[in-house]
């Protein structure tokens, strides 16, 4: 056998091996894709397609109560949305409601998380009791607050406040916004609390010990070690909290019906009125698009934070 023949043979073998390897890799890639694709296709079909259709609907004048009048109107629905005073009120209400509910529940959640981070008797029970408002069906929670808690005559709130000179105050109509915010804070504080508690418990005890040995006081440790450590967790709380609380519908539907007047009408409730009370499909769709764009702006920031949390993850093949 000549040397050249040998070389050719070797090359052929190498080529065949490479081809085989590539085939295996390709098969593996497809095996993996076939694991991922069903879930992805399903999600695209159910969540993305309706959204695209919403855009199409938003360009039409279309009321379900007047069949046959559907026609293309371009961007005029958007003009109508922005010129409605109801829309502007709803935006202001949504921002006010979301911001206060998020900040109050974050602050209270932080205090509770710090308490639960200490060791004391019955800690597990306290923790279990504290997460309960988040687990109660929101509709049930809202109904209970509306009736047994906030009722002007028979409600617990006025009973408790009686020594402070509060008579038969009708909270839902006199202070509608604080009322729905209170219910939201009650519901979302546990959410903030458990995230922050995880944050506190993930703190390295070595560093805390070292600081204590160096003579740092509780406040100093909290201010200079714990708070910076908690920053990421607080960001996560604020962003996830905002995304969920912006969409609040149940409690407003039940406690105030968006009123009195428009006092507690937020965007989801406003859209509900447009779509399912007046059946203005075109305008409701335009409103939905505007709301979604607003949310996307918040969500983009949220995703950036999440992706920072995941940056530490290794990219090695498994």
């Amino acid at each position: 056998m000549t040397v050249t023949q040998d070389r050719a043979k070797e090359r052929a073998v190498a080529l065949r091996e490479r081809a085989a390897k590539a085939a295996v890799a390709r098969r593996n890639r497809w095996a993996r894709r076939s694991l991922i694709l069903p879930a992805m296709i399903y999600t695209i079909l159910v969540t993305q397609i309706p959204f695209v259709i919403t855009i199409w609907y938003s360009l039409q004048s279309w009321n379900l109560l007047r069949p046959g009048t559907r026609h293309f109107v371009g961007l005029s629905n958007y003009g109508a949305v922005f010129s409605q005073t109801g829309f502007r009120t709803a935006v202001v209400n949504t921002v006010g409601f979301t911001a206060s509910a998020v900040l109050f529940s974050l602050a209270i959640g932080l205090v509770l998380a710090i308490l639960l981070d200490q060791k004391f008797r019955g800690r597990a029970v306290v923790r279990t009791l504290l997460i309960s408002p988040f687990l109660i069906m929101p509709v049930a929670g809202a109904l209970l607050w509306k009736t047994t808690m906030f009722h002007p005559v028979f409600g617990i709130v006025n009973f408790v406040l009686k020594p402070f000179g509060v008579g038969t105050l009708d909270w839902a109509s006199r202070f509608p916004m604080p009322t729905v915010i209170t219910v939201a804070v009650w519901q979302w504080t546990p959410f903030m609390m458990i995230i922050l508690l995880s944050g506190l418990q993930s703190q390295s005890t070595d560093i805390l010990e070292a600081a204590r040995v160096d003579g740092a006081g509780n406040w100093q440790i909290f201010r200079h070690l714990t708070l910076p450590h908690l920053r990421t967790y607080m960001e996560l709380c604020v962003l996830l909290g905002s995304i969920f609380i912006v969409q609040t519908f149940d409690s407003i539907f039940i406690i105030t019906q968006g009123g009195p007047g428009q006092a507690t009408t937020n965007l989801p409730y406003f859209l509900y009125l447009q779509a399912f009370r007046r059946f203005e499909i075109g305008q409701a769709a335009a409103l939905a698009i505007v709301t979604t764009i607003g949310t996307i702006i918040i969500a983009t920031i949220a995703l950036r934070v999440l992706s920072n949390l995941f940056k530490g993850e290794e990219l090695e093949p498994r």
Partner: protein, 290 residues
């Protein structure tokens, strides 16, 4: 640490006050924690108690803490056809959760064994769908459901709840899969196992607790869902939250009966959440916080 060390002058004062503050703190923390816990839990407790009252005992000023308990309200609720609502809720919740797991387990696994090209994009695609407001899609969903004759059917709710929980399930499951040591999977692969065998025989048993936790989170969200239920169902497919709302508008204020119904409605998720509380945080933060 330097920031702490810089505060040296404050140290001496701190140390003398130290033990005293420590003792106060020992009592302060549990007291505050218990007060907060009772405060936050009180509406839930009150709901539970009121459900066992006669209506006359529910409407009193001052509110009655002690009363002769009765099962009357629970009897009333069931004689009022609560069962169909319960069945609808249970069907929508259980079936959607099963479908979610069926689709999300392979997906999360595929994303956990890297590299799939652009795995990060896929992950963030999923989560972005959860961040879009449901109101953004409700209009066409309503119209499509109407045209497909799916209005007022549990099927429509199952389809939507599946999509609603998919991103959370994928993220959460992936975070559990990531914890399976690579060596175990490699050993399986060397023994000639295919991806599917590797997943079913080796990995799934290891992450069973994680799958249970994910299922619980899906159950919680599906069971409590109201927006789709109220807009897409009316009588045949209406779920428990819709029952609760119909209750108050049609019958005025029957607090005891309402409380009994609310207790029944909340109990499954309350128990599920208490059992899964260690895993709750992971589900709520899409697996980002453990």
């Amino acid at each position: 640490m330097s920031t702490v060390a810089e505060r040296a002058p404050a140290r001496a004062a701190q140390r003398t006050r130290g033990p005293d503050r420590f003792r106060v703190g020992r009592l302060l923390v549990p007291t505050l924690a218990w007060i907060a816990a009772i405060g936050f839990f009180f509406p839930v407790l009150w709901m539970f108690l009121t459900g066992f009252k006669q209506e006359a005992d529910a409407f009193t000023s001052p509110p009655k803490l002690f009363f002769a308990p009765t099962m009357e309200q629970y009897r009333q609720i069931f004689s009022r056809d609560f069962a169909p609502f319960l069945i609808n809720s249970a069907t929508a919740t259980v079936v959607s959760t099963l479908v979610v797991l069926l689709l999300a387990i392979p997906c999360a696994y595929g994303l956990a064994i890297k590299p799939v090209e652009k795995w990060r994009d896929v992950l963030f695609f999923f989560i972005s769908t959860r961040f879009l407001p449901v109101v953004g899609a409700i209009v066409p969903i309503y119209v499509i459901a109407r045209d497909a004759k799916l209005l007022d059917t549990v099927t429509a709710l199952i389809l939507l709840y599946t999509a609603m929980n998919m991103p959370i399930a994928v993220w959460m499951l992936r975070s559990f899969f990531m914890e399976v040591p690579t060596a175990i999977m490699e050993a399986a692969r060397i023994d000639g196992a295919t991806l599917r065998q590797e997943l079913v025989r080796i990995v799934l048993p290891l992450v069973a607790p994680g799958i249970a936790a994910t299922a619980l989170i899906c159950v919680i969200f599906a069971w409590n869902e109201f927006f789709f239920a109220v807009n897409l169902t009316s009588s045949r497919a209406a779920t428990v939250p819709v029952f609760l709302v119909g209750f108050i508008t049609s019958e005025g204020l029957f607090w005891a009966r309402l409380s009994a119904a609310a207790t029944m409605a909340s109990l499954p998720v309350l128990l599920a959440g208490w059992i899964a509380q260690k895993q709750l945080v992971r589900g709520l933060t899409m697996g980002a916080v453990k």
